[in-house]
Amino acid sequence: MIHETLQAIAGGMVEVVIDGILFGLQLSLLAVGLVLIFGLGGILNLAHGEFVIITGIISVVLISSGWNPFIAISAAIFLSGLLGLALDRTVLRPVYKLKGEMEVLVGLFVTLGLAFILEGITSYLFPGFYFSVRIPVETINIMGLSFRASALVSGLISFVSLYLLLIFLGRTMTGKAIRAALQNQTGSRVCGIDVERMRTLVFFLGGLMAGLASLAKGVASSVEPGSGLELTSYALIVGVVGGVRSVYGAMVAGVLLGVVNAIASYLLGTYLTLIILLGIVVVVILYKPSGLFAGGV
């Protein structure tokens, strides 16, 4: 009797853990753009979540004006990248002229202001709006376990996006140059790398990743105006746990937190889960400010 109960819990647990991994991949994708930009730009982009919202809004606007959904969403993701690029080239220009802590602080406030601007505009212009991509199949059964198809597809989108990012950073010359610029700016210049151009590129990539995160979230659940700062704080939590400058760290931390989130909400309910997640952040910052998985880019 007890044995069977335990087995049932364990069986449920496997599904919960896999669900957590899928959600965690989404978190990783959300955080990776934030981390890339902080690593090279020195800017903690608090407007990161707004990129996710804007990608969703553009997708829906384009689709409802008759575009093919696939093309519309791709265009929206690309535009999110361009928005990142624009951010780097315009409002952040004067911030880069400042030095050290001042640059970080002013950058923090500028992007916070930007988040407010975008959150206000999007909630004002698109009240009650949401971006959601429906998957025709409800559930998928694998080896006797059943999963929501939307969660699987969303996890897959996140995984592929992260994998492609890793290939780009690890194998191509431009990707290597970005990592070089993250590690040593003088060294990069000595190699002929234009660090400012790499920074612009990183902002584009960060925007692109936020756009892809919007798609992943749209498939799994939905994207709504007004939740930008909440998304940013999730990205921040993952980034801090993984090491704010480490792309690999963010990926691992996202999956880890996804699993913790799934298990905790399965056993304890959502309210305590959020407190646990926030508690983890505080503990990590206090005991290992460089992040649990820092090292490497």
Partner: protein, 320 residues
Amino acid sequence: MSLRSLYVPKPILIFFAVFAILPLISSNPYHVRIFTIVVLYASFVYAANIIIGESRQLFLCMSALAGISAYTSSILSLFFGINPWLTIPAGILFSAAVGALLSYVSIVRGLGEIFVAIVTLTFSLIFENVILGLRWLTMGETGLVTPVLWWPFQEIAGKRVASYYTILIFTLLVSILYANLVRSRLGIALRAIRSDRVSAEVVGIDVTRYNVIAASIGSGILALGGAFYGYFNGMVSPGVFSLSVDIAIILMLVLGGIRTLYGPLIGSVAIVFVLETTRGLGQLTLTFLGILLVVLILTFREGISSIIQRAAVKLSGQGQ
């Protein structure tokens, strides 16, 4: 410090004299409410000026610290059925202890300003979630109706005006406290730490101690202001003490002039005025605040008060 050596700059008295006659000019309840909010926010901005300005600890949990005390005092009064004046000190102690703890831990762990910001931001989120989660105690999102606080002279002046004057005197005392703090041992130590932390440590200034003291004083001011806010408002809710209050405080500090005596007053008058006039914009108010923050931070970091001061120095210089 003896009372005789207390430094009370005259312009501050003039400022507060002007504030004191405002309800005599207009006793319109809406106006008095606005005056009260301006004065209350000014006290918050003085606290921010001590924590963020003087000791350079980027606390993004100022509204949470105010909220902790407001909730503590209200809940204790309701629970034991006692006069709120008796529970306000408990709220202040609790908030000041939390502020001191946040500061102590950040310094001991050697967190840079950016990590202090992240830790305190996370703390704000935790505060909000604890309030939402302890629904049986706090009434969650709907908010808790606060017990009735007796404001001095409310039988003569009426509740509204009486609460205004109480809060005005509180803010006056806070501004005088700030003026004296800057000139005290603590203020001088903080200035030394700001200009060169390592040298300050070398000459024997206890960086941890002074920063923690600054954070506790600031948190205590936020706590008393927060409790007044709760009782004045008639209810406390997570929305009343949300992160946007921190943003408003920071805007006021930057606009008025960080590390200045008059900046908090000028900043809170200006920002409350702007917020009230743009009230009709709905969600766009947020956009407006954002634009203000970006523009101020990029172009106007020294604040109105330093510009006025510089102009005054120039004028008096020419006069001689």
